[in-house]
């Protein structure tokens, strides 16, 4: 009878007592993970996992597709940064290429016993009348008219006009240019004459001579303008024409004149200094 009347009160007191006993017991004994707690954690783990996954996917969607505030500004900033980096990269690339060219120039310098003055190409003669280039060195740097000019891998031409701080180089492909040369293999002597865009023509080689395509031609040193042994070009075509005493030989220069950026001017032989 008593239990029936006070069923609810007993229930309240019992639950409160359980909670308090649980609390005091755990406080005193530090039981760690009990069985019930383990079960709760086991059940909660998959729920937590599923919720985390769904929440993460929603949050990812929100951040990637909906919450795009500031993205345009970021995009602009990044594009600006890319352009800056591109400019910087081009600058470095240019520096690298220049270093490569200068390295080649230096290696050429080691091959000859001459004093050199390096110069930068500052202009090209656009007209077809003459094949010349302008360099940024002149008499102030010790240059004189007639000095030979080289660039990897060989001869370029000679100085024709020299001012204080710039000079004009007549390329040996100019039609007014004549250089005394020899064929490296047979040591046969001839004269190279410029032929403009077609390169050069080797003259005065007798038909009786053994001349082959691909043969290397070097300067002979005769005439005193160009030192002996400078690479000039390679025979690209040998024409044994019927009329005349000599062969008609076309030469392709070693140097690519369209890509000249730095050159060396041979000032004097080292022994002389």
């Amino acid at each position: 009878m008593f239990l029936r009347n006070y069923k609810t009160v007993i229930f309240i007191v019992a639950l409160l007592a359980i909670a308090l006993i649980l609390l005091s017991y755990n406080l005193k004994h530090e039981t760690g993970t009990g069985l019930v707690k383990k079960i709760v954690l086991e059940v909660a783990a998959p729920v937590h996992k599923i919720l985390s996954l769904s929440v993460k996917s929603v949050s990812d969607t929100w951040l990637r597709y909906i919450f795009l505030v500031g993205l345009e500004q970021d995009n602009r900033d990044l594009k600006k940064k890319i352009n800056e980096l591109k400019a910087e990269f081009i600058l470095y690339q240019e520096g690298y290429l220049e270093a490569q060219r200068l390295k080649k120039l230096l290696s050429l310098r080691d091959n000859y016993d001459y004093n050199f003055i390096s110069a930068r190409v500052i202009g090209r003669e656009p007209a077809a009348l003459s094949r010349t280039i302008m360099i940024n060195k002149g008499t102030a740097h010790g240059l004189k008219m007639g000095m030979p000019v080289i660039a990897p891998p060989g001869l370029v031409g000679r100085l024709t006009d020299v001012s204080w701080h710039s000079s004009k180089v007549l390329l040996f492909i100019d039609e007014s240019s004549n250089i005394d040369v020899i064929l490296q293999r047979t040591r046969t002597q001839g004269i190279i004459r410029g032929a403009g865009s077609r390169g050069c023509i080797l003259k005065y080689i007798s038909k009786t001579q053994d001349v082959r395509e691909g043969e290397v031609i070097v300067s002979s040193g005769i005439g005193g303008v160009f030192p002996k042994g400078l690479l000039v070009g390679v025979i690209s075509r040998v024409d044994r024409q019927d009329a005349g005493l000599f062969l008609k030989i076309n030469i392709t220069p070693f140097v690519d004149f369209s890509k000249l950026e730095e050159v060396l001017v041979l000032t004097a032989q080292e022994e002389e200094n």
């Binding site: 609810t8 359980i18 006993i21 019930v36 709760v40 937590h48 919720l51």
Partner: protein, 179 residues
């Protein structure tokens, strides 16, 4: 019976859900205690046996998952449930401002009990470390409680055609013995 069978699972779901939401919104700085609001709601709406069981299980699950001392929130939730229950017998609990105020008081009560417990049991002064968290959390709970009660009222209206009344709890001050 199904209520008692589902209660532990729903409690786990609720506690995990509130932890996940709080983690997203506040990055673990604040606790979004929807479980406390549910206990208050139970105090206003459910009968004593059902509500107290809910408070007990929810508190126990909260203890297990939140990492507090086992039994602490079980006890606190039951106390809050009983407070809500007795208040709902004496006062009208339909007004939203009353719900907000009562939730604020309950939240403060819970925080005071937690602070006192940690101070007495371990000698820790947790208010000193995070002085602003507790009032902020209490305000948050009171605002959320308003929203929760409003949504529940709408749901009840949708399910039952009109707001569900726990009028079985006659306002006589006597405890019902029904289970």
């Amino acid at each position: 019976m199904i209520y008692y069978l589902l209660l532990p699972f729903l409690s786990i779901l609720l506690v995990v859900l509130q932890a996940s939401i709080a983690d997203i919104l506040f990055s673990g700085r604040l606790i979004l205690e929807i479980s406390l609001i549910v206990v208050i709601y139970a105090g206003f709406r459910l009968d004593l046996i059902k509500g107290l069981t809910l408070a007990f299980i929810l508190g126990f699950v909260y203890d297990c998952l939140a990492g507090s001392v086992l039994g602490l929130f079980t006890f606190i939730y039951m106390v809050i449930f009983l407070c809500s229950f007795f208040v709902s017998i004496r006062l009208s609990t339909e007004k939203l401002y009353f719900i907000a105020l009562f939730s604020l008081i309950c939240s403060f009560l819970e925080e005071i009990l937690v602070i006192l417990f940690y101070n007495l049991a371990y000698g820790l002064d947790i208010v000193k470390k995070t002085p602003l968290i507790f009032p902020l959390q209490a305000v948050l709970i009171s605002l959320l409680a308003v929203l929760f009660f409003y949504l529940m009222r709408r749901t009840e209206g949708f399910l039952y055609g009109k707001a569900f009344q726990s009028t079985e709890r006659a306002r006589t001050g006597r405890l019902s013995a029904e289970a």
